[in-house]
Structure formats: structure tokens, C-alpha cells
């Protein structure tokens, strides 16, 4: 791995960006977990998608998947690299996208468009925008005009979870996606390839589940930032690299001492799409919270596992339809109030932090219902708004510290 002087193809001058070998073996060669985490941090902060640039250099193809959920197994089964897009973070200056999108919109939509308009998404051959909100949906329409030569697809994720017709509709929807991906250079769809991809992704999902369980049950072994970085790599690296990496990570985490200190066991709700900066994620636990469950990077946790055997496309669709996930971008299978109380109870949380992205309407509307239920049960909570481009957090620090103190020393 080396640092290369960066300049986006056709775009403005960029900060120095990372360079990797074609097969990304640098990740498996890191001598310690701490060094791997530092590398993950560098990758996350580099808006030029260095791992994707490296992987696609020998002619492989990548597909960008906007949050929150896309069937990445399907992308993988066509011989393409599914990559989770999470905006530009704090290192991308918005100079073109504002004019195209308008005001009053979330930063992730603007920074994602900005990356496209400054050629930093050049390694991608196709983009999938799931219908998780109106902005994500509309963004596909802009990409389709502004990115000639790449395929784009707006994936309609159903919101009627009671109809018998939903499953066949979603299967048909996935077939539409397959047609687009085949046009983007994907190999022809073969069920046995999808079955193999499902098995690989199931393995990754189990690993992520184990990681979050470790974080919940032994908070001292892993910080939220560490857990986040490892999961975030899972959406950037080929699964063939990330899965063995996580096997190694698990054994190293197990060997870590379980430090204990007075912390507030906290559920983190809201950042399921736009991601807070690493500094803000760090700050939450520095202030005295221990995050025992969170909504970050949902794509890995939409369901526990996908069934195998039978028609894999049906199995994949069924996993989405029957998922118990209860977040802002899925019509509530139960009452919102009941859902938040169940999650607090399952995680053994003492309080809740709502960390919602500025202008994220699905998250903002849920918070009101959640708060009412928490008020009834006298469960403490704090609501913070963030923007992926925020770099100063003094106000947030003060609020977090006050929140923790008010609960722990009440």
C-alpha cells in the first residue's frame, strides 16, 4: 500500500489518496488489529474509494449501492463487486451538487452527487438507489442524466408487508435489477451462483452479528468506532477478503481484556443512512456511553440469514419481506413505541441516543413516536442532530456529558 498524489479524473485537486494492490492483500497482512483499524480509518476517510479503484483495475466491475438496503448478494452473483456508498463524509466540499439538488436536503445526497460530478465514482459501472426515501429515489433520476454510460436503477422496496403479492412483486423487481446489471457488464444470472453468494453473505452476516453481540455483552472489548470501522470495511471490500479478515479479527477481539468502567449502556438510533463522522462516533463513547446496539450500517443486519435451498431469488426476496428490522425506512410491522421499548429491553440499554441526520425526515418523524413511548416508561434519551460534514462538536459533547451524568448519578 502506498499513498499517491491525488487528483480526481476530471475533478478538482484532491488530497493524497491511498493505493492498494489489485487483490487487496494488504488488509490480511496487517500485523495487528490496531494497525488494521488504522488502515480502515484511512480507507473510510478517503473519498476516492481506493479499495474499489484497486479491485477494478484488472478489469473487474463494481456497483455502488446507496443505503440503506440493497440485495448485494445478487450483485455479487453476477460477478460484480457490490460497494456500500455512504456519502462523502467530512472530506468532500460541495460545490456542484447544491445547485442540482436544491436546498433543504440531507448531506449524503449532496455529497454522493458531488462525488459523481467530480469523477470520484469513476470506478463504478452501475448504481442502485433503493426507495428508502424520496431523496434517494430522485437521486437515481439525476444520476441517470448526469452519468451517461453507467447503468442506474431505482429499486422499489415494497412497503406492504401483509400482501401475498408482495413476494412475487419483489422477485419481479429483482429480475428488473438483474437485467440492468447484466447490461452493466454483469455475467448472466445463474441460480447456483446466487446460492453461493447467499452462503458467503450469510457467513459475513453471522460475523457481523457476532461482532455486535460481543460489543453488547462485553462493551470493554471493542469501542463503537472499532466495531463501526470493521463493519464499514464489510461494505467496501470484496466479501472474499472481508470474511477471512473477520475470522482473524474475532480471535484477536476475544483475546482482548474486558475492561470495565462506569458507562451508560445506550441504544443508538437514527444514523441508518447518512453516517456521522468518526470523531462524533468516538465522542459518544468518550462522553461515557457504551453503545450496546445501533442503527449504523444496516445493510449487514437487515436479516439474520437468507434461507438456502429452493429458488435463491425467492429466498432473497422473502428475507427482505419477512425481516423483523424496524427502522425509519421500512413501514412499521408493529407500533413504533412498542418497537423501541423492545429494542431497549433486548439490548439491556439504560438510555437511548437519537442521532438523526439533518433533513432526514424518516428518522425525524420516528423520533417523536419513540420519545412518547420512552417517556411513558421513564427511559432517558437524548436527541442530537448531525451532518456528515460537521467537524466541531463542542455543543454535542456538552449535551452528551450532561446526559450521561444525569442518568448515572441520578
Amino acid at each position: 500500500m502506498q499513498e499517491a498524489p491525488g487528483s480526481g479524473p476530471g475533478g478538482p485537486e484532491l488530497p493524497a489518496s491511498l493505493e492498494f494492490s489489485d487483490d487487496l492483500t494488504e488488509f490480511l497482512r496487517q500485523p495487528s488489529l490496531d494497525q488494521l483499524l488504522q488502515l480502515a480509518r484511512d480507507v473510510v476517510l478517503d473519498p476516492t474509494y481506493p479499495t474499489v479503484r484497486a479491485w477494478t483495475r484488472p478489469g473487474r466491475r463494481a456497483v455502488g449501492c446507496f443505503p440503506v438496503y440493497t440485495p448485494q448478494e445478487l450483485v455479487h452473483a453476477l460477478g460484480l463487486l457490490p460497494v456500500s456508498l455512504h456519502g462523502g463524509g467530512e472530506n468532500v466540499e460541495i460545490s456542484h451538487a447544491d445547485a442540482a439538488l436544491g436546498s433543504f436536503l440531507c448531506s449524503i445526497s449532496k455529497s454522493t452527487l458531488e462525488l459523481a460530478l467530480t469523477a470520484r465514482l469513476a470506478p463504478f459501472r452501475a448504481f442502485i438507489f433503493p426507495y428508502i426515501c424520496d431523496v434517494s429515489r430522485n437521486l437515481e433520476g439525476l444520476f441517470s442524466r448526469l452519468m451517461p454510460g453507467v447503468e442506474t436503477h431505482m429499486l422499489h422496496l415494497p412497503q406492504n408487508f401483509r400482501s401475498e403479492a408482495t413476494l412475487p412483486f419483489l422477485v419481479a423487481e429483482y429480475r428488473r435489477l438483474i437485467a440492468k446489471l447484466e447490461k452493466a457488464g454483469g455475467e448472466p444470472y445463474r441460480p447456483e451462483r446466487l446460492e453461493a453468494s447467499i452462503e458467503l453473505f450469510n457467513r459475513q452476516r453471522r460475523q457481523v452479528g457476532e461482532l455486535t453481540a460481543t460489543k453488547r455483552d462485553h462493551p470493554g472489548k471493542l469501542t463503537l468506532t472499532e466495531s463501526y470501522l470493521l463493519r464499514r470495511l464489510g461494505g467496501l471490500l470484496p466479501r472474499e477478503v472481508h470474511v477471512p479478515l473477520m475470522d482473524r479479527v474475532r480471535s484477536e477481539v476475544e483475546q482482548r481484556p474486558a475492561r470495565t468502567k462506569d458507562v451508560l449502556r445506550t441504544l443508538l438510533v437514527g444514523p441508518f443512512c447518512e453516517q456521522p463522522t468518526l470523531d462524533l462516533i468516538d465522542l459518544i463513547e468518550q462522553a461515557g456511553c457504551s453503545i450496546v446496539d445501533d442503527e449504523l450500517l444496516q445493510v449487514h443486519r437487515w436479516y439474520g440469514s437468507v434461507e438456502t435451498g429452493g429458488d435463491p431469488l425467492v429466498n432473497l426476496a422473502r428475507a427482505y419481506v419477512q425481516s423483523p428490522v424496524d427502522i425509519g425506512v421500512r413501514a412499521a410491522p408493529t407500533s413504533k413505541g412498542e418497537a423501541i421499548l423492545n429494542r431497549v429491553s433486548a439490548a439491556g440499554a439504560q438510555g437511548v441516543i437519537f442521532l438523526t441526520a439533518k433533513f432526514c425526515e424518516p428518522a425525524l418523524e420516528d423520533v417523536v413516536l419513540y420519545r412518547k413511548a420512552l417517556d411513558r416508561q421513564k427511559i432517558p434519551y437524548l436527541h442530537l442532530e448531525f451532518d456528515e460534514r460537521s467537524t466541531t462538536f463542542e455543543q454535542s459533547r456538552l449535551q452528551l456529558e450532561t446526559f450521561v451524568e444525569s442518568v448515572l448519578f441520578d
Binding site: L142, R145, H156, N160, S163, V329, P362, L364, E365
Partner: protein, 426 residues
């Protein structure tokens, strides 16, 4: 070029009077509704199932229309502030805040009491906030919630799998209504209602198409908004069908007598976006002083693209309801929206496009800046983009909006006479 005339906007006299009476009677009936004798269903405008719901004896409330009525009567802000006090943030849709604030305050409006729902029907057609809004209502009232999941329109033609999915959901919805009400579904009655829907839709399409005349005998944005009420709220009744016959008779009378929406038509506009209801008349005045007339607009199609052939058909009741529900304007992808607007510019011989983006509605607004760019640079159509809100009066800055509009219309003059292109909005 600026006109010195400041006439009040002229409406179609009889039609306007009929419309006013229909609105008043509708709200008077609503105030008496609720409970088992006259249950109330809440529904959304886009892709609504009013014909089916009414055939089971429900009165229908459209909270979006209640919200716009509150805004235009300048009573939305107290409801919005009340919702904000409940925790709904500044960035939440104004319609949602108006409604949820109003619900908490007891439902009293200057035009009557809005009864609570017995049934919530969420036609998820082009607006994700619909889902969130109806979840909040379901949580508050604990009544049954049905989500009609309407696939997003990404191709110009209806796709078979989308139609199949919708028809299956419609039949499940009918089964739900039968269970709730204890009544049997009457297909013959639905067909009879759809005959009236079709008549109203054909009349509405004829009205909208009259904007092709030069000068235009209609104001296809500001005036048309008043005539949207029957097509969205009372569709399926004989009264709504008759209403559009009256409207079109008066439009023809306007053409014969030479009485047009402005004394001298100087600019023909296509308008994209939701009106700023709290400042509706002020905004309209900014057009009229320049002799600017909307000859076509996208907003009157939020309830359905009837003018693109998505009409109810009593001979194909379920298929046509399914197709109609796909055809809410904001359920169209950006490529389809762009084409529609370009077609309007060509077919209605428009001089320019005015885009009004609103803070509340990301569905309508996200991407309108790119639309402006495409119209100006690819189609060479002068275009102005403005921002305010459709519900919250705090976001309408009259001086700034007027200045930009004045500059835009001023610059259109020389262009129409072969001069340089406008600078404002480019």
C-alpha cells in the same frame, strides 16, 4: 413590459360558485361524520382509492387538502407550531405538521371540524412521507391501517408486474373493508361510480387542454388549483362530473367573449412545483403584473396524470384503478417528469418555465435544480427556480421572490423579441 393593470384575478363565475358550495358542503358533512353510522377514512391524494372506499359507506378526509385549506386561510402556522412543540422538527413536511398539530388541537378549523379516522388508507404513491405520516396517525388512533404499495413509475408504459401487484392489493383491501364493515363488495356499484369518475376526468382533461389556445382562456396553475377539488375529493359523484361540464362551458364563453385570465397575455409559462399556499394571492399577483399566464402546470396532476391517458374505466375497474394509482405526478421518475415538462413547453407553446421548489416536499423538489439546468442548457428554455414552502408562511420571502421574478420577466421581453437570453435563473 410590466403591466400597470392590477385587476383582481378573474374566475369562471358559476364554476367558482359551485366549487365554493361543494367545498362548504363537504366540510359540513365531514363535521357530522364518524362512528359506525358514517365511518371516516383518511386517504392521501396521490393514487387514492376514493371510489372503493366510498362504495363501503365511508366519508373520506384528505389531510393534505385540509392542510392546504388551512394554509390558504392563513391558519396553518398555529398547527405547525403545535406539532413542533410535540417534537416534529423544522425539517418535517408542513402538511404533516399541520395535520398532526391540528389533530392534537382537536381538529377544529374555520371551515369545520375534521373528525378522527376510523380507517387509514395509505396509498404510498410517490411520497415516502405518506408512510411515516400514516404510521403516526395509526399510533395515535389505533385504527386499522392499510398500505397500498404503489411501485414507482420508471418506464413510460405500465409494467405487467406492477399492475398485477396492485390488483392483488386492491382485492385484499376490499376483503379488509368487507371484514370491517360487514358489507359485501358490489362490483356493479363500483362500475357505476367509475362511470362518473370517467366523466369528471374527461371534463378535467378538456379544461386543462384549453391552455393550448392563444391566448390561454385558463390559468392552469393558480386557477386550476381551485378546480382540482372535485377531481380529487368528489370523484365518482355525478356532481363532480357535472361540475366540469359547467367549467368547460364557461371556458368556451371566455374564448367567445375574449375575456382571458389577464387582459393581455404576454408570457406563457409552464409551472412546476407546489404553490406557496400561505401567500397564494401574493404569488399570483407577481405573475399577473407581467401578463404572465400558466398555460400548463405539473401540480394539478398530483392526483393523477389524467391528461396522459390514465383514466378510470368502468369496463376494466381494477386494472384502471391500478394504472391510475401509478400515475400520480410525483410517482414518475425524473426522466418521465423531464419529458412531460418538455412536452408541455412544446405543446402549449410556452415561453418559459417557472419552478417553485418547496422546503417541505423532497419528493417534488429534490432534483429541480438539475431540471432547471437541463431546461436552460439542453432545451434552451428560459427557466426560473424559486424556493419557499407550501404550508409554512415563515419560508416565503416576498421581496426576494418578487425581485427575482421581476428580473426574469424583464429579461424575457427582449428574448421574445429576438434579443439576448435572460440572465436571471440561468
Amino acid at each position: 413590459m410590466e403591466s400597470t393593470a392590477t385587476h383582481a384575478p378573474s374566475f369562471l363565475n358559476t364554476a367558482r360558485e359551485q366549487q365554493r358550495t361543494m367545498v362548504e358542503e363537504y366540510y359540513a358533512d365531514l363535521a357530522k361524520a364518524g362512528g359506525p353510522k358514517k365511518p371516516v377514512a383518511y386517504m392521501l391524494v396521490g393514487g387514492n382509492l376514493t371510489e372503493i372506499v366510498r362504495s363501503f359507506g365511508y366519508e373520506v378526509v384528505f389531510p393534505e387538502i385540509v392542510a392546504l385549506n388551512c394554509a390558504i386561510k392563513h391558519v396553518s402556522l398555529p398547527n405547525i407550531l403545535h406539532a413542533e412543540a410535540q417534537g416534529y422538527g423544522l425539517d418535517v413536511c408542513g402538511y404533516v405538521k399541520n395535520d398532526l398539530g391540528l389533530q392534537e388541537l382537536g381538529g377544529e378549523t374555520p371551515f369545520g371540524r375534521i373528525p378522527p379516522p376510523d380507517l387509514l388508507v395509505c396509498s404510498f404513491s410517490g411520497c415516502y412521507v405518506y408512510v411515516k405520516w400514516w404510521e403516526a396517525l395509526a399510533e395515535k388512533y389505533g385504527c386499522p391501517l392499510f398500505v397500498l404499495d404503489v411501485p414507482y413509475m420508471r418506464e413510460p408504459e405500465v409494467q405487467a408486474e406492477d399492475r398485477t401487484y396492485l390488483i392483488a392489493q386492491l382485492k385484499e383491501f376490499i376483503a379488509l373493508l368487507e371484514r370491517i364493515t360487514g358489507r359485501s363488495f358490489d362490483l356493479g356499484e363500483l362500475r357505476r361510480v367509475l362511470v362518473q369518475s370517467r366523466r369528471a376526468e374527461e371534463g378535467w382533461v378538456r379544461y386543462l387542454a384549453s391552455g393550448r389556445h392563444r391566448p390561454s382562456p385558463i390559468e392552469a396553475y393558480f386557477e386550476a388549483v381551485f378546480y382540482m377539488f372535485p377531481i380529487n375529493v368528489l370523484r365518482g359523484t355525478e356532481r363532480a362530473a357535472e361540475f366540469y361540464a359547467t367549467v368547460n362551458t364557461e371556458v368556451e364563453q371566455r374564448i367567445r367573449s375574449g375575456q382571458y385570465p389577464v387582459p393581455e397575455e404576454k408570457v406563457r409559462l409552464v409551472v412546476e412545483g407546489v404553490p406557496p399556499y400561505p401567500s397564494y394571492r401574493t404569488f399570483w399577483d407577481f405573475f399577473r403584473k407581467w401578463g404572465a399566464v400558466s398555460v400548463a402546470a405539473t401540480y394539478p396532476k398530483v392526483g393523477g396524470l389524467f391528461d396522459q391517458g390514465f383514466l378510470h374505466d368502468p369496463g376494466r375497474p381494477f386494472e384502471s384503478i391500478a394504472d391510475y394509482s401509478l400515475a400520480a405526478y410525483v410517482n414518475q421518475s425524473w426522466p418521465l417528469r423531464r419529458k412531460l415538462i418538455a412536452d408541455y413547453v412544446r405543446d402549449y407553446q410556452a415561453d418559459a418555465v417557472l419552478i417553485h421548489g418547496i422546503k417541505s416536499c423532497r419528493s417534488f423538489t429534490a432534483g429541480q435544480g438539475d431540471l432547471r439546468d437541463w431546461l436552460i442548457h439542453d432545451l434552451h428554455v428560459p427557466t426560473l427556480y424559486l424556493e419557499s414552502d407550501h404550508e409554512d408562511p415563515r419560508y416565503f420571502a416576498p421581496a426576494q421572490i418578487k425581485n427575482r421574478m421581476d428580473a426574469f420577466f424583464e429579461s424575457l421581453g427582449p428574448r421574445r423579441e429576438g434579443g439576448p437570453p435572460p440572465t436571471e435563473g440561468s
